[in-house]
Symmetry: C2
Subunit: 422 residues, 2 copies
């Protein structure tokens, strides 16, 4: 049952003329199954409609920003009301203060906030703050972790210089020995250790943080004077109502936030502790729209929902229902399915599927049944989902597992993912 | 007549606790006269209201984004309508194609577009595209030109490494010999020459581009294979309905856009010519909110206004009225006032005023009379201004010149600008 997709095809042809490669960045469907739509017409609650009118239960949530449901009425009303009073002005509104107060009250380690637009703005400012604080240059990252697309951290370095990517050492996530080796290699030049709150790398199983690894990261920062940065851009508010590592009892010096804290309205933030305040005040960082009032109004409304509702427990319950339901159905079908990551940010990979041919087939089958899943990037649940939505996904999954089982022996390679076999 | 500013003072005290240095970036009032408000409550048309209720005719226009008037009804209606259908989704809407078609049709050199959020995103992508296209690293910049706050170009390098700022050579704006010397110094490693469309540096007189300088920049790029980047983030749509250097007959390979093409809604863009398309498709660049549909709807509405109205000629007429009126009044008062830059983006500096003590006094006097001017950064006119607004500014200027003349002999130094005397 392939999707009819004539509008999408027409738009792709037009896009090929005026957008390099037809689309750029993480929302390009270049590495998704060919039947995945590139363009969307509408979004409401937990659902998307592509430009050909197909309704899709969306487990990507805009790659994170959709936390409370697309087009949430009270959050969007806060945005519009503030927009009409004045949005991008010659200076900030009072909301920048109110939002900084709200976020520092919510996040245990945080004493101050800087607001920006991209998640990558927040991680870049974190790095600059750590370098200014320490007077050193080296940063330690986990191999494969994503912290943005700027030269120092982009996963595809075309166009970045080796100099921009100097002063970096790498460890393996959750591997204390490799972390200690990286710290030793940094010698007396360690400015920061960046940590993803969970391992949510593309194409591989996710991993929750080992508490001992998190604690050791904190200790090594304390011993060396380096700053600990938890990059909560992707996972923030889907694990805790605090920095995600607060659940482990580990407090960073800096945490980067983005994507969902204004429910998809454009704002990101760097939060920091007292120790890093002076350095943060010494760097120059700014952007044309960073003082916009309307996204701050939307953030305040979103964070009120975060504080006052069980949105997180609701998502976790749905995530458990999805995980156990999929496990049962995969097992019943004789399919080896690995489900990793927090239940609110799941990833599904099939056993014995190095180029994801089974995952691609299953995902396409899910899509044909009205459920948008991603074959190799962590997904996201949102608070607008219901038990009935999860049951819809489970029904679709059962039928899709049956197709995978039947067609698996004859499946050919996925040419666009052949790099995974290299 | 100092402004009463109790709300602003209270907010500054709260901000000092939760924002590093009390405020960051270009919208901090740290280097403005002490009576300038930091926080604003409302904006409509050409006017701002600060949090203490003072109405101000605003010659900063949000540092550029306000092109057609704050809270423009049809542009904001386009934003809201699209927002309610779906804004930040799991993929872009058809509007990304429509906007790319619209901008490539409008800008002579442009064959493709990439949309992003910050002006600095667009200049960063331009640099990466040029490096990918040439396989080289060196970039030539004009001394003092602003292209963003990322490590490679930030005017205050605290927190950036020397490595990130390597591979750069500098010339003097409009000085062909210095440009040629920089090109010679780059040898066979020149990836790009960045050009501001006008010299709009802070603290110094602005300068329009010498056409011979612009043509020579193009020639040098053609001879070396480097890409010419015109950074139109600040000046775009206030000089031409095309890339600003198109008025000189010089077409760049890449142009960066931001601030005002969605009238203050958050979107920026890199436009490029066919030559650079392949390289642009090879770099990885993205951001959480770059595919947002609502700012694209606002951009389409703004650009329709750009095409279909005399907004530019209207602003130019007002700018001429302001410039000639100020010249007359300054001369009549015996004040030496230098007015530089395009009339739609003026800067005013006083003769014999190295630490801007006259400029600070005059600006404060203008503010007290309800006119927001900037003492050292280029200003911006918007299309919502009227002849009556300009006349209000001229009346305020006449009175303010008189105060400067009377108080000038006894003026003390401006401590916060003492670095200008160094």
């Amino acid at each position: 049952m392939p999707l009819s997709n004539s509008q999408d095809r027409q738009l792709r042809e037009r896009a090929a003329a005026v957008i390099p490669g037809g689309m750029y960045g993480h929302q390009s469907t270049g590495l998704l199954p060919d039947d995945y739509p590139q363009f969307f017409a509408k979004a409401k609650g937990a659902r998307l409609w592509d430009v050909d009118g197909h309704e899709l239960l969306d487990f990507m949530c805009a790659y994170g920003p959709n936390l409370m449901g697309y087009a949430d009425e009270s959050i969007d009303a806060a945005y519009v009301s503030r927009m009409r009073q004045g949005d991008t002005m010659t200076g900030p509104s009072a909301l920048i203060v109110e939002l900084a107060e709200t976020m520092t009250a919510m996040v245990t380690h945080a004493d101050w906030a800087i607001f920006c637009k991209n998640g990558g703005d927040a991680t870049q400012i974190a790095l600059m703050t750590a370098r200014a604080h320490t007077g050193r240059k080296t940063v330690i990252l986990a191999k494969g972790a994503y912290h943005g697309a700027l030269p120092w951290c982009t996963p595809r370095p075309t166009g970045a210089t080796p100099e921009e990517r100097a002063n970096r050492f790498f460890c393996d996530y959750n591997d204390i020995a490799s972390l200690e080796a990286a710290v030793a290699a940094a010698g007396d030049d360690l400015a920061a250790i960046f940590a993803a709150p969970v391992k949510h790398d593309a194409f591989v199983d996710q991993a929750l943080p080992d508490p001992a690894y998190a604690r050791r990261t904190r200790e090594l920062c304390d011993q060396t004077g380096a700053l600990l940065v938890v990059d909560d851009v992707r996972a923030g508010l889907r694990i805790a109502r605090d920095c995600s590592w607060a659940t482990l009892g580990v407090q960073p010096d800096l945490s980067s936030w983005g994507k969902c804290f204004a429910n998809g309205h454009p704002i990101s933030a760097l939060l920091g502790s007292e120790k890093a305040r002076k350095a943060a005040s010494q760097i120059y960082t700014t952007g044309s729209f960073w003082y916009q009032a309307a996204p701050m109004a939307a953030a305040l409304e979103t964070l009120k929902r975060v504080r006052e509702t069980d949105y997180l427990e609701h998502m976790e319950g749905l995530g458990e229902r999805l995980r156990s339901g999929l496990a049962e159905r995969a097992a019943a079908a004789g399919i080896g399915l690995r489900q990793t990551g927090p239940v609110t940010m799941p990833l599904f990979l099939f056993d014995d599927d190095p180029d994801l041919r089974q995952g691609f087939l299953w995902s396409s089958q899910m899509l044909a049944r009205g459920v948008y899943v991603h074959p190799w990037h962590n997904m996201f649940l949102c608070a607008a989902m219901t038990s009935a939505d999860i049951d819809q996904a489970l029904d679709a999954a059962e039928a899709s597992f049956a197709v995978v089982k039947a067609e698996r022996p004859a499946l050919g390679p996925v040419a666009k993912l052949s790099f995974l076999l290299a």
